[in-house]
């Protein structure tokens, strides 16, 4: 697992209080990890903080799985 993926996983586990084993690339935040819409906003805020990037609203809307987040951050994080 890449460094970015590790850090994303850590945030997701902490924030949603889910079993780390469930936080796989294809896991959908809402359907698989029990997030509600407000949790997804908070996750994006946590990613922004951890990676020092700004995630615009239209990009945030496309981040629905763990893999989406990793991909976005690998591409955009400094």
């Amino acid at each position: 697992m890449s460094d970015v993926a590790e850090r994303v996983k850590k945030i997701v586990v902490e924030h949603l209080s889910v079993d780390p084993e469930k936080v796989v690339e294809g896991a959908n935040f809402i359907d698989d990890l029990g997030a509600d819409s407000l949790d997804t906003v908070e996750l994006v805020m946590a990613f922004e903080e951890e990676f020092g990037v700004e995630i615009p609203d239209d990009a945030a809307e496309t981040i629905v799985t763990v893999g989406d987040a990793v991909k976005f951050l690998e591409k955009n994080a400094a």
């Binding site: 407000l38 906003v41 908070e42 805020m45």
Partner: protein, 245 residues
Amino acid sequence: MFSLTGRKALVTGASGGIGAEIARALHAQGAVVALSGTRAAALEALAAALGERAHVAPANLADRASVEALVPAAEAAMGGLDILVNNAGITRDNLFMRMKDEEWDSVLAVNLTSSFILARSAVKGMMKRRFGRIIGITSVVGVTGNPGQANYCAAKAGMIGMTKSLAAEVASRNITVNCVAPGFIESAMTDALNDKQREAIMANIPAGRMGKGEEIAAAVAFLASDAAGYVNGQTLHVNGAMARI
């Protein structure tokens, strides 16, 4: 019981009658305050009177860019923001049929749209910190309506609806969103009334007097406190029994 020690509060319209009292009350309970308005000199004077724990954050709420910049400025000055009081407000009264677009637009912009933008920008940090208090100063006429004030009443009613929706969205994060609805409060505006107008108003106030700014401030201080943590999405009417709603 209602201590605000360590809390950081932004009060808009702090250069006005009610806003200054709100700022004084929050400050007296121990909060750090950021005072906003357009008249920097009036804000500076209040900050000087309060002494420590008072910052000045001027902004023109009729201007989008200025509204957007206000919460970040207050957060930078105080190191965070726990309490937002949307108190600034204007009137541009006219009969409905004569009301100009500009009168409608300016009242909606200052009284409602700025409250939306400030709350949207404040709630982010509040979610992270798992604590927040957003308090809107609406008006009794936002619920009852008032001839000559369609724009003002629409904005004040809008604030109540916005408050209820936001409360439902963020209550799980320990954030409360409420309104205080003053009736007639002694102010520069009400001082300008003539005796006849004053009499007509008094006839409708069972308490037999107008309210004072500090009586609105006390309601705000309560809602801002930890003790009011389960009061959420509500409008607290402070009107001397003028309207029982």
